[in-house]
């Protein structure tokens, strides 16, 4: 039984294909179209998923869309009624799109999937989120918390899952939204909404939470159970094209920071403050959920579940023994959740899951053969070395030990916003200069941005203050040992990724070889892209990125390239490619 899950028309459109409950292919549309956070119908991703399974739309049992469009439209209309006449600009912009496209999603899907004659299902946004975590988790029973910007009406939902059944008991409705509160501060500090929230999170450790009290006194009322209500006097997002209004700016005595401006102490303190408030809300929410459910497992989903700092604090808090967050916890992951909920609904909700849908790899995207890669390298007349797998491992570890920055392109592309070892840039975490070098000369991004470490799973507690494993890079913890300054943030924390050999053999072997040589089982792992560019998908994307940056080497399939061997003409040409900064 094949079910196609879709999420699109807002941001980060994606598609995923499940076969008998198990996800077999999934990707974000941006990786194919090269448009960051692409929101359009995921045409190319759907094609990839169907091609991967060697099926056509006719072979699909069902198609699931990740939310209920009419319910969302109702929320929109009611919001315009409540904010009239301030919403005129937003109304004029949104309504034509709704009337021409978003209200006709069913027909649009039918048109795009020529030959498909089955039913199209529409689970609610937060049910899709809940399913994207619980139904693929290793737990038979778990508490569930979903929290994001907004779905139809809900901005957060809680409940529990048992077997194949999810029961969401409560929700918080728009306009009260932790995700939108965080996005409001993202906008206020000069970053791009629905894109750069993670930058604000990375900026937070540089500041002091001086404004946290002001935020909780004026902007948001937080109950003991973590539920919240926002003071809409300060926000423009329900009716405007901006997130905050002049009352908000007067409250902090500062106009919004201009985009691209270097963050000063004010922005750093604002970032620290909103992060502290978010942590507090997430801790209260999860503690009260634990009191209510008395379950030891927690499934988190929604955009806020990508806040690794809060996730680390929830785990450290110790109320829940186990936490599961699927790597594409944001809206893209809704495609997976929608497909899963429909699968279990069609099969019968009483069905025990028996681990058949267990999510155990994020490598669900396309992969390319050595022959395809070699053909590309030959087309460019590039000099390369073709190596065996053990040679690739040794050579890459050797290059990294010798302070080279290596582009690492292997196997199937990752699902979710993080590069987890198949579309990564790897470098030595021991060298403090590497943080600046990779930020400024390779990724062309802000110098304050920290890098994440990848660590051998069995060495995690030796090097980091974490008792858990984290293959999807979704938690932050403190670094225990000195000696890896390039991945140690200013507050001594790091966003970890753990890896064992079963998860990714080649990647593990490189880190293990580096460990054997240096005694350090940690590398810098950052996404293989430049600022504003989606993570590379194809060998062509990888080659363009390698040529257009100051990366030293490229390990692509069985081939190793050295920048020194590349003709200047090619490097100059590739350097001209530019992307809209995120």
């Amino acid at each position: 039984m094949y079910i196609l899950g879709l999420s699109c028309f807002y941001h980060d459109s994606a598609a995923c294909l499940i076969k008998d409950g198990k996800v077999i292919a999934a990707a974000h549309e941006e990786r194919f179209t090269r448009i960051r956070h692409d929101e359009n119908f995921p045409e190319q991703t759907v094609k990839f998923c169907l091609d991967f399974a060697k099926i056509t739309p006719k072979d699909l049992t069902a198609v699931a869309f990740y939310d209920k469009p009419f319910l969302k439209f109702e929320r929109l209309l009611e919001t315009y009624l409540g904010t009239w006449p301030k919403g005129i600009l937003s109304w004029s912009k949104a309504m034509p799109v709704w009337l021409s496209k978003k209200l006709w999603i069913k027909s649009l899907i039918q048109d795009k999937l020529e030959g498909y004659e089955g039913e199209i299902y529409f689970p609610e946004h937060h049910l899709s989120h809940a399913a994207s975590a619980f139904l693929v988790s290793p737990f038979d029973k778990a508490a569930i918390l979903t929290i994001d910007g907004v779905g139809e009406w809900a901005t957060a939902a809680k409940g529990y899952g048992e077997g194949a059944k999810i029961t969401l008991t409560h929700q918080i409705n728009f306009p009260d939204s932790l995700g939108l509160l965080y996005s409001a501060f993202t906008y206020y500090t000069g970053f791009k909404v629905n894109s750069a929230e993670y930058k604000l999170m990375g900026l937070a450790p540089y500041g002091q939470p001086k404004y946290a009290k002001l935020i909780t006194d004026e902007l948001i009322d937080i109950k003991l159970d973590g539920s919240f209500k926002m003071n809409m006097k300060y926000f423009a997002y329900p009716y405007g094209l901006r997130m905050t209004n002049s009352a908000f700016h007067r409250l902090f005595g500062h106009n919004p920071t201009l985009s691209g401006q270097k963050p000063a102490d004010f922005e750093k303190n604002i970032a620290a403050s909103i992060q502290a408030v978010t942590d507090e809300i997430m801790l209260r929410l999860t503690r009260s959920l634990y009191r209510e459910t008395k379950l030891e497992n927690l499934c988190l989903a929604g955009g806020v579940a990508l806040n690794c700092v809060s996730n680390g604090k929830i785990l450290k808090d110790g109320k829940f023994k186990n936490l599961f967050i699927q790597p594409a916890a944001g809206d893209a992951g809704g495609a997976l959740g929608a497909a899963e909920i429909v699968y279990y609904a069609l099969k019968g909700l009483a069905l025990p899951r028996q681990g058949q849908a267990l999510f155990n790899t994020a490598f669900l995207g396309p992969e390319y053969s050595n022959a395809e890669i070699q053909q590309l390298l030959d087309e460019y007349k590039l000099k390369y070395k073709k190596l065996t797998r053990p040679q690739i491992v040794k050579t890459t570890a050797d290059l990294i030990e010798n302070q080279k920055v290596v582009g690492w392109f292997q196997g199937r592309m990752e699902w979710g916003p993080r590069a987890l070892g198949n579309r990564s840039i790897l470098a030595d975490a021991r060298n403090p200069e590497n943080q600046k070098r990779v930020n400024l000369a390779i990724k062309f991004r802000e110098s304050f941005r920290p890098f994440a470490p990848v660590v051998l799973e069995d060495k995690i507690s030796e090097w980091f203050d974490a008792t858990w494993t984290d293959p999807y890079m979704i938690t932050v913890c403190q670094v225990r040992k000195k000696g890896i300054p390039a991945v140690t943030h200013v507050d001594g924390s790091a966003r970890i990724q753990t890896v064992n050999r079963g998860q990714n053999q080649l990647y593990y072997d490189v880190i293990n070889e580096f460990y054997r040589r240096t005694g350090v089982p940690v590398l810098i792992n950052t996404s293989f892209n430049r600022r504003g560019e989606p993570i590379v998908c194809t060998p062509q994307n990888a080659l363009d990125c390698f040529l257009g940056t100051n990366m030293d080497n490229l390990a692509i399939g069985s081939f190793i390239l050295d920048k020194k061997d590349i003709p200047d003409k090619l490097i100059e040409k590739a350097g001209k490619q530019s992307f809209q900064p995120d």
Binding site: P85, I172, K229, I341, L349
Partner: protein, 71 residues
Amino acid sequence: MINFIWQPIKSLLVKIGRVQTIIIMAVVYFIVIGPMAILFQIFHRRKTSGKTYWLKKDPITDMNLYLTRQF
């Protein structure tokens, strides 16, 4: 030749269409939405403080119907 003449006309019509849409939308916003909005704003109140801001969610009774509906 026809294409050469049609392209500028087409782009002009697209621009006119955009302006027309904005005007129609603004008219609908003030004439249709306006009166309803005034009534809505008089009678609608947001939930005020209690012990919690969580709202109870109705259980799904018919999963198949729930999944096929867009609302």
